[in-house]
Symmetry: C2
Subunit: 214 residues, 2 copies
């Protein structure tokens, strides 16, 4: 893997809450808000990359596809989170809005900021942790990991309102829809969670869920 002019390779612009940059008087990035409808594509694999995105509202799925249609969602992006980093100037995955979504799209600049690096690192550690889930956890454990992660990121008591379908969850956790559904039913039967409706899930015993995933 060669290390040549990485100037060409990646969007490097200040992102939200960039106090350090604001104070130092460095040039701010050009940014604008773009709106996407449910299931609208944001960028495709192979597409030229020139921007990074910060979710203002809504949520986004990032995924890879195999030739026969198998799909792996590598991440969900929730409000406040940043995505769209690319190598070789080309996106390696697909991005779609899961629901109606507003994104702050920021144009390519050559400015290195700590916030950029921090966002990339957040993406990286998130992916790395997910490897453990996909490689070594059982179906119910994967679901517990997913619910706890969503709860942490959405942060509203012990109840999460999921934007994504069972199909999306399955493709994120490396399972099938049926297994996701059965797993949730099982967690509910065991008293660990409560399904208020299919997309609104309350964690009744968060500590027990944590115990499942570590």
């Amino acid at each position: 893997m060669s290390i040549h002019s990485s100037r060409e390779f990646v969007a490097l612009v200040p992102i939200g809450h960039n106090d350090a940059v604001a104070r130092s008087g460095m040039p701010r990035a050009i940014s604008q808000t773009a709106r996407y409808a449910k299931d609208q594509h944001i960028f495709d694999q192979g597409e030229r990359a020139g921007k990074i995105f910060r979710v203002q509202s809504g949520s986004v799925r990032l995924y890879h596809l195999l030739a026969d249609g198998r799909r792996q969602i590598s991440a969900f992006c929730l409000p406040g989170e940043v995505f769209g980093f690319a190598q070789q100037g080309t996106h390696e995955l697909y991005a779609e809005a899961i629901e109606d979504t507003a994104l702050e799209a920021q144009s390519l600049q050559e400015t290195l900021t700590e916030e950029n690096l921090h966002a990339v690192l957040a993406n990286f550690f998130s992916a790395q942790t997910h490897l453990l889930v996909l490689g070594r956890q059982l179906a119910c454990e994967r679901l517990a990991s997913f619910l706890l992660d969503m709860n942490r990121r959405l942060g509203a008591g012990n109840r999460v309102k999921l934007a994504m379908s069972r199909n999306d969850i399955a493709d994120y956790l490396g399972l099938t829809v049926e297994t996701v559904s059965r797993g949730l039913s099982r967690l509910q039967k065991d008293g660990l969670i409560r399904l208020h409706d299919a997309r609104s899930i309350e964690m009744m015993k968060p500590h027990a869920l944590v115990g499942m995933v570590e």
Copy 2:
């Protein structure tokens, strides 16, 4: 996830082949070579992070553990590659030398460089791609992915000399040792690879292997 002073969070120093920095006269990082024996630990999860490492020779495994001992190797690091990026100043995984290994350890500085960012991105995309393997590929497909990746990174014709055991490969691919062994036997029986010895594998039909993984 708060975005405060990321200065505390990550080692940011110039790394190898840093022509831009060298030319510009910016201060070079303090760096030194450290040697590790087979299976020697480099850092542990929870340990204070203060350095990043560049592999000069040998190879390294990075992994997570679950409480009951299940292990997921998130990456193998080969000569020329960089690892050790951390968040919150604390390592999130374990690092061990797979064989006798020399590392260029570089002290923490606050210098942002394009090479650093590029190294983090390389780590990130590698993890992201591996999610597809763990989430959506069958055992033989995972093995094909692994062999092709090793061949690309080691780059010596169509023959790879693996430093790691079947057990390491299994923990990297989310399989058991037995399944790895059976998968390799199967690929050999089908004429796709040839096992010169257990650790020395030749790809007889690289194109067919590529066909398996996409």
